[in-house]
């Protein structure tokens, strides 16, 4: 009997602990997306826009956006609480940063997220060209909920392109690593749709430059191994000078990077790519079902990747941003003391890059 009593009391305790706080879903504003921007006022430099779904008494679902200026991100959240009858709680899936704010540095804001356990590690981050506020408030006829739209957009990008798969964990990991710089996708709301513009690369926590979509593809190849990727190539035919489009799919790419640190002032890095893919589109004049022309096409693709890689690397050096992670390779070749004494920015700007590419076309599709 006594045993049973104690077990009963223990079970009661267990369930009673659940009564500490209650959250009723109709009374909550569960944030789907948050955008941070720089505001115009000096006193309250941060402008926060939140987007959350609402349900009316008739059962109609809708979304609501609210904006407030504040001194810090949580200061704006407190101000936002005063703008709504609902209780604002976390649950974010996407967090957007305005371009201006990203250029000033994001770490102060992101560190608040790391302190607050409500923000998961898989929260998606992105930069918005212009103001994040505008993107969340943009009305697109076929899209009822911009945040949901963005989230599935992120999911798609993540599976398509490894470097575009960015979230809080990856951003912080690369930010804290001294051998690599973080990247975030850049979106724009200029046209009729919300559009992916490319990849923003960072130096520390500051957004420095945007890579175009082609450059992003090349960066993806240079960063690491790829499975089932795709690549759109636009090149000029060597003889006729006409534009030729080539679409490679099912790309499997092996990536091997080597660095030579023997000359401190003039280090070299070599990237070896071994790419295998199948042709899905080809608008050129060669008969690529023939072996000879296939080899020729492979050479053209190799040249295309090499020249574009070089252009990309020069651009990255110019902005002193290292999203490929060359720094970590160099670091792992040096002793702790030398690495700490090394002026990495200067070394990086003086580095020589070699890119070697080997392309194999596995098949050329259905047509002959």
């Amino acid at each position: 009997m006594q045993n049973k009593m104690i077990v009963m009391i223990a079970i009661c305790c267990l369930f009673l602990t659940g009564c500490g706080g209650s959250k009723i879903i109709e009374e909550l504003a569960i944030l789907e997306s948050v955008a941070f921007d720089l505001s115009d006022s000096k006193e309250n430099p941060i402008k926060t826009t939140v987007l959350f779904p609402t349900v009316s008494k008739e059962g109609k679902a809708g979304i609501q956006t609210l904006t407030a200026d504040g001194k810090s991100s949580h200061d704006t959240f407190i101000k936002l609480q005063n703008l709504t009858n609902l209780k604002i709680v976390g649950g974010q899936s996407a967090i957007l940063f305005g371009e201006e704010l990203s250029k000033k540095g994001l770490i102060n804001i992101i560190e608040t997220f790391t302190r607050d356990p409500e923000f998961g590690t898989r929260v998606k981050f992105a930069i918005v060209e212009g103001k994040g506020e505008e993107l969340l408030k943009k009305k697109i006829p076929s899209v009822p909920d911009n945040a949901e739209y963005l989230y599935s957009f992120f999911e798609k990008l993540g599976t398509q392109n490894k470097v575009l798969n960015t979230n809080k964990y990856r951003f912080l990991r690369d930010y804290y690593d001294d051998g690599i710089d973080p990247v975030l996708p850049v979106f724009s709301y200029e046209g009729d749709n919300i559009e992916l513009k490319g990849l923003g690369t960072f130096k520390g926590d500051q957004y420095v430059t945007r890579l175009t979509l082609i450059e992003t593809q090349i960066l993806n190849l240079l960063s690491g191994d790829i499975k089932n990727g795709s690549l759109m190539i636009s090149m000029n035919d060597e003889e006729s000078g006409n534009n030729v489009q080539l679409y490679l799919s099912d790309i499997n790419s092996k990536n091997d990077k080597k660095v030579n640190t023997s000359k401190r002032k003039n280090m070299t890095a070599e990237v070896n790519l071994d790419i295998k893919g199948s042709v899905l589109e080809y608008t050129g004049t060669m008969d690529i079902s023939k072996d000879k022309y296939q080899r020729q096409l492979e050479k053209q693709v190799e040249n295309y990747i090499i020249t574009n890689s070089k252009k990309l690397l020069i651009k990255l050096k110019k902005y002193q941003t290292d999203p490929i992670g060359i720094g970590s390779l160099v670091r792992n070749r040096l002793s702790y003391e030398t690495w700490n004494k090394l002026n990495w920015n200067e070394t990086y700007s003086n580095m020589n890059f070699k890119v070697k590419v080997k392309v194999d076309l596995i098949n050329t599709g259905n047509s002959k």
Partner: protein
């Protein structure tokens, strides 16, 4: 009949199987430190700090070896019998009280730390006293069952906790050897302090010095196996952390392992850290109970005429009150750290002390034997 069980000490006739024991040992090693272990090794041992766990594990093994030697030399006598054959009981009482105090304190602080983390991470509105009451009631039930029933229960509880290790496989895609760096133990390091802190992750094992009368003869290997299991799981988790996070990221995260589990996402489960940490309460319960049990054993030895249940009440009441005192995470951590240092002291000093007594007894016996022989 049911009432009598466990009160009169009938359970002691049944002896513990080595396999059960090794799982018991593994479970009672202080696992809450695990959640911050990668940061601790990174903070105090610098880059590639996870290797330090091997060195600390060696120290722990030396500690266990002492316990094993005592068992062997003492022919299975309990340490109280060994000590009290040479030192009068009243001399030992202050030391006994000190050990009891430290062990009850540690159990309470671990319990409170768990609740603090739980509140901070998941349920800020959790009523603390109810939760402590829950722990205390469960401990009471386990303690009344005696060590044999406790061990069986703990083995089952352990089976709940262990599957979470498999979640680590889902992190492999993010794993990269580049992040390990080629630097070993570089950065702001403090090996001594770090060593002590990492050692606390292995604490709990020192209570096994009281197991002597309740175990089968070849039980000492269970100690080593249990400790090996802990070492392997600690190594595995810290190793994965160093390849999953960048070094400075670990330094900036209070509970890296929490983040680690948070990142795992399976089709049917995301943010698994909530579940993992809740299930972890079982392991915690085992740790708390074993410290309470240790305290109860010492009390019982001090005054044998009083029923064990009385001591259980005293211990649990003081544990309950102690757990209510601290009011911030920093406070609990500070207290827990000092108590853990004391516990490390006990873990080393007690076996050394008992060993010294054993040696003097052996030497005495030999001299006596020789003189008798000479006669």
């Amino acid at each position: 009949m049911v009432k009598k069980r466990g009160i009169n000490g009938d359970h002691m006739k049944e002896r513990l199987h080595p396999l059960q024991l090794s799982i018991l040992i593994y479970t009672i090693q202080n696992g809450l430190v695990l959640y911050s272990l990668p940061r601790l090794v990174a903070e105090y041992f610098g880059t590639n700090g996870w290797i330090s766990i091997i060195f600390i594990a060696i120290l722990v093994n030396i500690n266990i070896t002492m316990i094993a030697i005592i068992y062997k030399l003492g022919n299975g006598r309990s340490i109280f019998e060994i000590i009290e054959a040479t030192v009068p009981k009243w001399v030992m009482v202050p030391f006994y009280l000190f050990i009891i105090g430290v062990w009850i304190g540690i159990a309470s602080m671990i319990m409170r730390l768990y609740i603090f983390i739980f509140k901070m991470m998941f349920f800020p509105a959790l009523p603390v006293s109810l939760f402590i009451a829950l722990f205390i009631l469960l401990s009471f039930q386990l303690l009344r069952g005696g060590i044999y029933k406790m061990t069986k229960a703990i083995v089952v509880l352990c089976a709940f906790v262990q599957p979470m290790l498999f979640l680590l496989f889902y992190l492999i895609p993010e794993f990269d050897f580049v992040r390990y760096t080629t630097f070993f133990f570089k950065g702001d390091t403090d090996f001594f302090k770090g060593g002590l802190q990492v050692y606390t992750a292995f604490l709990g094992i020192e209570v096994s010095i009281l197991f002597f009368p309740m175990v089968e003869k070849k039980w000492t290997k269970a100690l080593f196996i249990g400790n090996l299991l802990s070492t392997v799981s600690y190594l595995l988790i810290t190793f994965i952390c160093f390849g999953f996070f960048s070094f400075k990221q670990i330094l900036n995260d209070i509970f890296p392992v929490m983040t680690l589990f948070e990142y795992t996402e399976v089709a049917f489960l995301s943010r698994a850290e909530n579940l993992c940490f809740s299930v972890f309460a079982f392991k915690l319960l085992a740790i708390i109970v074993i410290y309470f049990w240790g305290a109860q054993q010492i009390f019982g030895n001090m005054i044998k005429s009083i029923k064990p249940n009385f001591w259980i009440f005293i211990i649990l009441a003081s544990g309950f009150i102690l757990a209510l005192i601290p009011d911030s995470l920093v406070n609990v951590e500070k207290w827990l750290l000092w108590l853990s240092y004391c516990a490390i002291g006990i873990a080393w000093a007690l076996p050394i002390f008992v060993l010294c007594i054993l040696f003097t007894q052996i030497i005495k016996n030999r001299i006596n034997g020789e003189t008798e022989h000479a006669k």
